[in-house]
């Protein structure tokens, strides 16, 4: 009997077109991703690596929730829907046979559907290299059966078993198919919640368990895999993956079993008794019809407007009274609130709930709900009368089309308005609950009413139009969603982004407290006008085709539309189209005429051409700047600048120079124009003029002999024109201008403009570029500074003028400030040599001043220039500067300036940068951090210490432009700031800071596109210079002693600071000091970490404590240690065999330090020599042990850092 039902179910399913449609969808999705080569992030991992296959399949199982609900929800519901249950169960079948037969038949089909994704991947892998659509033939690995079977067994099948059983049971028990829709939505919500929580490292285990699809579990288990490992390994059924699968598979099984035992036909058959009004057959005596009052009937525009209003109200009520609408809306608002609540985190520290952030969260998850609500409820509304068959009455009422049509539209406009306002409600609520009362309603209203609301309207207009034209709810949904899928796919896969062609798309923007909506608002309003005009045109056409009456066939509707196309709609349509075309032309003029628009591929092609044409000049000899005097006239009100620079240039080469190569900056946003270019007062003759790449070669008026000096004067004006298709265009802004020497031309070819990706270099016929910088032995590299080859040490002074209410800042000391011609002038002069590295900043600043006093009486003036509303964290910057000054002056060398200035700039970029005595600091980077919880990383303090450290490492010791030299600047700044942190907060809190470095390093190497270099030879990888550098240097000072290491660095500074002549210092010089300070026994540590790529796998497997007398405990623990070596590609090459010095620790329960931070309380903490392998260790400690571990602070680079410590039993 079971067998009959099972095979019937299979046959039934195999005859349904939906089965094939689902399979085809998954197949196509996988196939397209594969042939377009959209695989994992790293170019070195295969598009069809086991990692990529697993990830893709798991992702499919998330999206297949909808399919799962459709396939597994109906086998039982079918008998309700077609009312076959009334007789079907009278057949001699058993409940279990019926249920299990239906279940297994459908489940088998569901697995078959999921397998279509595998087929898609296989076929994509086979055809991908043949079609070569993505220029990466070599990224298709071999096809191995296990790569597909393994993730199906471990991830996909348990997941669909869970979702399938859930949906099946819900219908079987509730007899309501809508429950499954709500169920799948809830699952989605749960999943999104997981992603939101996962942003914090601390919640990793919870998220791993709670994700029903195990997507987070999988990414967490594999996040440190190098590309080589991604190509070989499978995420096995172990650890959190095993727990997760057991949990969700178990829930699925329990649900299914419960249903099988609970289900019985009688309950299933029982008719649902709803509340019915009782009919009474009593005939009452009513007044005769003729006595009915006769009312006056009014048909006027005013009356119609009243109808419009009433109908709108009715329809609005119809929508918001829908239970599912409310459920989805609540889901959306929940996310809106949670996304705002968790806020943006930097190193685990949340920012304050600023208004701009409360607004931005609308695009995280909420937009998805908005999308669903608008599309689905537009369909509901448009088809409502037809769906409930009220149209037969409504359509014959004396109401003009535009009233009915308009009321539906307006009701949905009301829904859009509601959706927009919920963002404000959620934002204000968030801010209030968090005790942040700086509500910026101006930002709320401008963004939500002028930018977001029109976008929701556009979404609505398209959906409305489609639903009316196709006149079928289901097809309407499919087509509307289809249009968006195509738009999004074109932008993401085909790299097309010309907004004028993408319905409802506008240029990106960012709100800043400093600069408000700045220059972004204008283009946004133009684009919104453009799309709204288009949307209204659609609405007018839709009104013509509005389906009134019983005939929905195309011919009749076309005929009616022609009849309805009278003067008024014609005029309205013409007006809309005129606005559409007019604003379109204006936008085109701005984007493509005033500015230049390039596709991503065109940009790459130009980059390649630039390299092919001019890379031969890479090492052409040029003079060096020794003195710069600037005169900068800023007009922030007009975003305009005139920059005049007088450069003293010297021939420092051994040969005469007769020409000068100048590369002018890109016209992309600011349209710089060269007003004057004089060398020694003369117009130099142009030998080569390339306006495309802005490469010019001039003949020097007089040949510069070695040692000769010339004077070069350049005046550049720059001002953005109109607006662009995209881009933040952040340098010249109304409030918060920040630009650097990039405004002036540079000498010769700049290799930073080259394509770096292997994939694209191959495509354009360029040789693979392995390094950006020459090796440390290279004489050319050593003759240049790391940051600029245009000058060595220079002297600098200048004047800058700006708006009367702004303060303008450049490196140096303020000599004079005055007002003239309604402008404010500032004159700065530097009295110590600096690198050719200066910035100009200008904004309406408030200033906080303080003074650092050194032990020898030396003082440094500290000035913090900030947005007046961002005063909360100023003391953190000041205190950090002071602590840094204390430490660096003591341990490295005296500070070369008398002043340290920090200034805020708008959040169009998210960094801080150290210029001589000047550090511009992004608005989002600390000024609005919420540091009230002392356990959260105070990155304002930490980053400031880093930037101040650059005044030594980068402004005193200037590395050469060679491979590895970046570590002297960045790793050392990291080291220095860690030491400041340690000195301020103590050794025992350092792990909470360093875990982020370790995590970023391991992630960085796992998404490596080329190869990972060692600390000594890394050129451009930030995860090496910041993160590996942090961990390794911190461990080193711990191993050999802070004083000892600092002494080595002090010696290094003494020797190599302010090198006047090339060759400039390299990573080998730096390393030699480190080596000299390290005892022989620990040289293995240097080799492992500086010269090789080494990762540990330390782990504690057992820890027990036995109480002895006098509060003493005997602790026994079993630890494992293993050291692995990797090649640059990330392949394991061997294991360490010798003994390593590794720390063993036993801890009491965590305590709070004086500053309120949680810190470890070691009862025992000592390093000991351990051979690779398992060790049983025994210690006696005083005090009750709570935790024990090997390398408990993660001082060593450990692949799995969270198994080093274990609670003591």
């Amino acid at each position: 009997m079971f067998w009959n039902i099972f095979t019937f179910e299979l046959k039934y399913r195999l005859k349904r077109p939906a089965t094939y449609l689902y399979g085809l969808l998954l197949f196509l999705y996988a196939f397209l991703i594969l042939i377009y080569g959209n695989g994992p992030a790293s170019e070195k991992a295969n598009v069809n690596s086991p990692y990529a296959i697993s990830y893709l399949l798991i992702l499919m199982s998330v999206f297949a929730t909808m399919m799962s609900s459709a396939v597994m929800g109906v086998p039982v519901y079918r008998d309700i829907e077609h009312n076959t249950r009334s007789y079907f169960f009278s057949y001699p079948i058993s409940e279990r046979g019926y249920l299990l037969g239906r279940y297994l038949g459908s489940f088998l089909i569901l697995i078959a559907i999921m397998s279509c994704a595998c087929v898609g991947i296989v076929l994509g892998s086979l055809l991908g290299p043949v079609l070569n659509l993505a220029d990466n033939v070599e990224r298709y690995g071999p096809i191995r059966l296990w790569d597909y079977v393994q993730p199906m067994l471990v991830f996909v099948i348990p997941t669909v078993f869970f979702t399938g059983s859930l949906f099946f049971s819900l219908v079987a028990l509730t007899r309501n198919v809508f429950v499954t829709y709500a169920g799948s939505l809830l699952l989605f919500i749960g999943y999104l919640l997981g992603i939101t929580l996962a942003s914090d490292l601390e919640n990793k285990d919870i998220v791993d368990l709670l994700d029903p699809f195990a997507l987070n579990t999988f990414t967490n288990a594999t996040k440190y895999w190098t590309p080589a490992e991604q190509n070989e390994l499978h995420a096995g059924l172990e650890g959190n993956v095993l727990l997760n699968r057991l949990l969700w598979g178990g829930i699925g099984l329990v649900t299914l079993l419960y249903t099988v035992f609970r289900f019985d036909f009688q309950r299933f058959l029982a008719i649902k008794l709803g509340k019915k009004s009782k009919t009474d057959g009593v005939t009452e005596k009513a007044k005769p019809l003729a006595t009915l009052p006769v009312a006056e009937k009014i048909y006027s525009t005013k009356a119609y407007l009243t109808h419009l209003f009433r109908l709108t109200k009715l329809e609005f009520g119809n929508i918001i009274k829908d239970v599912y609408f409310l459920v989805i809306l609540m889901g959306g608002v929940l996310f809106l609130f949670l996304d705002g609540w968790f806020a943006d985190q930097i190193m685990g520290t949340r920012s304050l709930p600023t208004t701009y952030y409360m607004i931005e969260v609308k695009d995280f998850d909420y937009i998805l709900f908005v999308f669903i609500l608008i599309i689905f409820y537009t369909g509901e509304s448009v088809h409502r009368d037809k769906a409930v068959h009220f149209d037969n009455i409504a359509d014959a009422l004396p109401v003009p089309n535009w009233v009915t049509y308009g009321s539906k539209f307006l009701a949905l406009v009301g829904i859009c308005f509601l959706l927009v306002n919920l963002v404000i409600v959620s934002g204000v609520l968030n801010q209030t609950v968090k005790g942040y009362f700086q509500y910026d309603f101006n930002q709320y209203f401008t963004d939500l009413y002028l930018i977001e609301f029109p976008e929701y309207l556009q979404l609505l207009m398209l959906a409305f139009f489609v639903h009316i034209m196709v006149n079928s709810k289901f097809t309407g949904h499919i087509i509307t969603i289809g249009i968006w899928v195509v738009l999004i796919a074109l932008r993401n896969f085909a790299e097309l982004d010309y907004n004028l062609f993408f319905y409802s798309y506008t240029p990106g923007y960012r709100i800043s407290d400093m600069n408000g909506f700045g220059h972004f608002l204008k283009p946004l309003l133009w684009f919104n006008l453009y799309w709204l005009a288009f949307g209204f045109a659609l609405l007018i056409v839709g009104n013509l085709f509005w389906n009134r009456g019983s005939e929905g066939d195309l011919k009749t509707r076309w005929r009616l539309a022609k009849l309805r196309f009278t003067r008024l709609p014609m005029m309205a349509l013409v007006v809309c189209l005129l606005i559409f075309v007019g604003s379109g032309i204006w936008i085109y003029y701005n984007v493509s005429v005033l500015n230049k628009y390039q596709t991503a591929d065109e940009t790459r092609e130009l980059q390649a051409e630039y390299e092919k044409k001019y890379s031969r000049y890479e090492r052409v000899a040029h003079p060096k700047i020794t003195d710069l005097k600037v005169k900068i006239d800023l007009v922030p009100e007009e975003r305009r600048v005139t920059a005049n620079g007088i450069f003293t240039i010297v021939n420092k080469t051994a040969r005469p120079l007769d020409s000068l190569h100048l590369l002018f900056s890109s016209p992309e946003y600011n349209h710089p124009k060269t007003k004057t270019l004089l060398i020694d007062g003369k117009d130099p003759k142009i030998l080569l003029k390339d306006t495309v790449f802005r490469y010019y070669i001039y003949q020097l008026p007089r040949t510069l002999q070695p040692g000769d000096t010339a004077r070069m004067e350049i005046t550049i004006t720059a001002q953005p024109k109109g607006f662009t298709n995209s881009g933040l265009n952040r340098e010249l802004v109304y409030n918060g201008t920040f630009f650097d020497t990039g405004i002036f031309p540079t000498f010769g070819y700049n290799p930073n403009g080259e394509l770096t990706s292997d994939k694209y270099r191959k495509k354009f016929g360029l040789p693979i570029k392995q390094y950006q910088q020459p090796p440390y032995t290279d004489a050319w590299g050593r003759s240049n500074f790391l940051f600029t080859q245009d000058g060595d040490w220079i002297t600098f002074e200048g004047t800058v003028s700006t708006a009367p209410d702004q303060i303008a800042i450049m490196p140096g000391y303020l000599q004079k400030e005055w007002s003239a011609n309604g402008r404010k002038y500032y004159q700065y002069k530097m009295d110590a040599p600096i690198a050719y590295f200066m910035n100009v900043s200008s904004a309406r600043y408030a200033v906080k001043r303080d003074v650092w006093k050194g032990p020898d009486g030396k003082t440094v003036n500290i000035e913090v220039y900030h947005h007046p509303a961002h005063g909360l964290n100023i003391d953190r910057y000041v205190n950090s500067v002071k602590a840094s000054m204390d430490y660096y002056n003591q341990y490295f060398s005296p500070y070369q300036f008398r002043q340290m200035r920090i200034m805020e700039f708008p959040r169009y970029a998210g960094f801080a940068q150290s210029f001589p005595n000047t550090v511009p600091y992004a608005e989002s980077f600390g000024w609005v951090g919420d540091f009230r919880d002392p356990d959260k990383t105070d990155y304002a303090y930490y980053v400031t210490a880093h930037e101040v450290a650059h005044q030594w490492w980068g402004h005193q010791v200037m590395p050469s432009n060679t491979r590895g030299a970046n570590q002297i600047s960045e790793s050392m700044a990291e080291y220095a700031s860690l030491m400041v942190l340690k000195k301020t907060y103590g050794d025992n809190i350092m792990q909470s800071r360093l875990k982020y470095s370790l995590d970023r390093y391991l992630r960085g190497r796992s998404s490596e596109d080329k190869f990972e270099e060692t600390l000594l030879d890394n050129d451009t990888r930030a995860y090496v210079w910041y993160d590996k550098g942090s961990v390794v240097l911190f461990a080193l000072q711990d191993y050999i002693g802070e004083e000892r290491l600092n002494r080595a660095f002090r010696d290094y500074v003494e020797k190599d600071a302010f090198q006047q002549k090339a060759p400039f210092t390299t990573s080998r010089d730096w390393y030699s000091y480190i080596k000299a300070a390290t005892p022989d026994s620990l040289h293995y540590f240097l080799t492992d970490n500086f010269e090789k790529i080494t990762l540990y796998e330390n782990r504690i497997t057992e820890a027990k404590a036995e109480p002895l007398k006098n509060d003493q405990y005997k602790v026994t623990m079993t630890v494992q240690t293993k050291k692995l070596y990797y090649d640059k590609a990330g392949k394991e090459t061997g294991v360490g065999k010798a003994k390593d010095l590794i720390e063993i620790g036993i801890f009491a329960a965590d305590a709070k330090n004086k500053k309120g931070m949680t810190e470890k309380v070691p009862l025992y903490l000592k390093k000991q020599w351990l051979a690779p392998g398992v060790h049983k260790l025994e210690f006696v400690v005083k005090g009750k042990p709570a935790k024990a571990g090997i390398d408990p602070y993660n001082k060593l680079i450990d692949r799995v850092s969270d198994d080093n410590v274990k609670p003591v039993d």
Binding site: S277, L292, A295, L314, A396, L397, P398
Partner: protein, 300 residues
């Protein structure tokens, strides 16, 4: 006031010819439109109710206070005087009967809310729904829904009322009540009642037409139509197996089971052997017209 229909034609996009040169004059009073399922009654009703386009032909409502209204061109004008009860209709389930009627009344042009309330209350009482007027329409039974439908059709004092198969699905008592209500509708109103139940027409209508397969096959006063066939209808009780035999030799217009045996009516100008004369009624008119028309169709 009268409604005249001239040469109305309609062919659906799937090729079905729903109306074929329909020409009718419908005077004031109750007009019955009789026809079997699928005869084109609803198509005609929908076309008059402005819900459907005609391929050709004309429908005019003449001698109204506003002059002559062209139904096909002046949809909005006709809608202002129309009361329409469709054969099938639905309601918003979450709205109460009172609210919905009030809403429809306002759409029908009654803008004074006090007047509207008076009318709605009176109509609800009239259709015996006042005790449930606050209840949501979704909770109504079939009969209650139908009564609601009548109430909405009567709102606004319409001068053209179209009721399409109003009694289908009503129990005898409800049907009776409905007939009483219809009979109360004022004299100076054109009321078109479409039905396939002959009794409805017999009880209510002063004029009628029979349509079949899109054609008007008879038209006139019911009494005149009955008179025309008086003496031409004959009856016989036969055994069931003989039926085919009789069909071959006579124009059998109806068969009916009587106490387990089959009684047939035939149409014949002259007496037939073994047949008894019958007093003809409207049902005989209906069946004789339908059978002869359909036989003609089959032959042609």
């Amino acid at each position: 006031m009268k409604l005249t229909i001239q040469d109305l034609n309609k062919t659906y996009s799937n090729g079905v010819k729903a109306l074929h040169d329909v020409t009718l004059t419908i005077p004031q009073g109750m007009f019955g439109l009789l026809g079997p399922n699928g005869a084109g009654k609803s198509s005609l009703m929908r076309t008059i109710a402005t819900l459907q386009e005609a391929d050709s032909g004309q429908i005019l409502l003449e001698d109204t206070p506003m002059g002559t209204i062209d139904v096909i061109r002046q949809k909005d004008s006709i809608r202002r005087v129309l009361g329409y009860l469709p054969q099938e209709f639905g309601v918003y389930p979450k709205v109460s009967a009172e609210t919905m009627l009030d809403h429809i009344a306002s759409l029908k042009g009654i803008s004074n809310s006090r007047e509207r309330k008076l009318i709605v209350d009176a109509l609800l009482e009239k259709v015996n729904l006042s005790h449930v007027k606050k209840k949501n329409l979704g909770t109504f039974s079939g009969g209650m829904k139908q009564r609601f439908g009548i109430a909405q059709a009567l709102i606004g004092n319409p001068s053209l009322i179209i009721v399409d198969e109003p009694t289908a699905g009503l129990d005898p008592a409800e049907r009776n009540r409905f007939h009483n209500l219809l009979s109360e509708i004022g004299e100076n109103t054109v009321v078109i009642l479409s039905t396939h139940i002959v009794e409805d027409v017999t009880n209510l209508c002063s004029d009628m037409a029979i349509i079949s397969l899109g054609n008007v096959i008879a038209q006139g006063h019911p009494a005149d139509l009955v008179a025309a066939i008086q003496g031409k209808i004959w009856r016989k009780i036969i055994e069931k197996p003989e039926l085919d035999n009789y069909k071959a030799n006579h124009q059998v217009i109806s068969t009916q089971l009587k106490g387990g045996r089959t009684q047939i009516h035939i149409y014949s100008d002259s007496p037939q052997l073994g047949f008894d004369p019958v007093e003809a009624d409207l049902e005989d008119v209906y069946f004789s017209k339908i059978t002869s028309h359909q036989e003609l169709r089959v032959m042609s």
